[in-house]
Symmetry: C2
DNA sequence: ATAGCTTTATTAACAGTGTAAAGGTAGGAG
DNA sequence: CTCCTACCTTTACACTGTTAATAAAGCTAT
């Protein structure tokens, strides 16, 4: 009486095909163009058949995101296990693993954290979206002074601050709320810290920008 | 012959109403539920009428985002002008202005930077999406040691690193590419810097976590 | 003033979306 | 062999963005 298991295996197989199809379409043409009908077409079933396996499109994508989290966790774990016992080295490798995952599986990362990539693809120079960068860069420039490669340094520090602020905002907006007070504390401390490395006399920006030399 | 101007004023007025209606719906029920028909309903015109003013829904939302950038720039500028001439103090206030804008106008911020908030609203404890946090926290814990309020400190450092990494990834995915090499450089330097403040003996985490005491 | 043209808006329609309800069909259980 | 359950399909509904055809209004020039 292994027929039950065979059927279960079969169902599991279809479920897996659905997920694979959705991911393939998402990777190929972006998440916006993923539709139940296209998935159904791809697995050669009728659209409502999918609802035997997932309650909604939302649930389907969420399951895909969940698998993404499993994969991400696996990579982070590997990074730790493949390194020696120094916690700092471990952390660096673990974050590098996180980083690598995000780009290797960028489509998964998008649904995991709701990063819309179709929004404002303003790549032309001097649009309104680039005014903030200009404003910040000007003031950062005052701290950097007239050194060599000032432009590069300013850009680097601007992106460092921006990444931090934008990341913290995104995480808050997505719903993983820290208490606002803690977020703001993290914010000001981090920005202040980054700025201090700019001010520090004799700083060697390209090596250890976020800590004074001992 | 001021009729031409009167007409232009009228058109500009309608255009503005369209934008206002879209923003109102977006604020009220989320951007996903903004539709041309609802906008049309709201301004008491037929749906295709909107296409006299905007080439597409995409263009409409992009214009809304553009106005958001103007507003953001304005706030950053004000923050600078309202402070004294110390660049560091200015930068702190400018980033605080950026932060405040993001939450005061969070719906605008969403379309400006493509932050989907409807994605994975996993607030239950111990889901797969929280495994990465646990992995990192464990290693951070090794650095923190058995001090008082270790949990809080770990959380704070985890969120600091995560914000940074996620922000940098998001910015790259959105399309404002820095050369990958520079991004990775910023990444490792920042993480390393944050970690070092943990390791530093006698560190005073709540005051100056990202720089050693002189 | 009237003819014609431009602008502005409408209605109708197309192709696509997620999803629910109803119906059929096959396979296992009694 | 009958019944029942699980699976799947067809049909349908209420939406979506967008286009084509059309009508009405207003300005311009004869």
């Amino acid at each position: 009486m292994g027929s039950k298991e065979r059927i279960n295996r079969h169902k599991e197989n279809i479920r897996c095909n659905i997920l694979r199809a959705a991911l393939a379409i998402g990777k190929g043409s972006g998440w916006n163009s993923v539709s139940m009908r296209k998935i159904a077409d791809s697995i050669e079933y009728s659209p409502p058949a999918i609802y035997e396996y997932f309650n909604s499109k939302e649930a389907l994508l969420q399951e895909l995101a969940r698998l993404g989290f499993l994969q991400l966790s696996e990579r982070i774990n590997q990074a730790r296990n493949n390194s020696d016992n120094d916690p700092k080295a471990q952390l660096l490798l673990m974050w590098a693993a996180y980083w690598d995952f995000a780009f290797a599986e960028q489509h998964l990362y998008q649904i995991m954290f709701g990063v819309e990539t179709t929004c404002c693809d303003i790549n032309e120079p001097l649009t309104d979206s680039q005014v903030p960068a200009a404003l910040f860069s000007e003031v950062i420039g005052l701290l950097v002074g007239q050194v060599e490669k000032a432009g590069e340094i300013i850009q680097k520090y601007y992106y460092a601050c921006w990444s931090f602020v934008h990341g913290l905002i995104s995480i808050n907006l997505i719903g993983r709320h820290l208490p606002q007070k803690i977020s703001e504390q993290i914010l000001t401390e981090a920005i202040s810290g980054i700025i201090d490395t700019l001010i520090a006399p004799g700083n060697n920006l390209s090596k250890e920008p976020y800590i004074e030399e001992v």
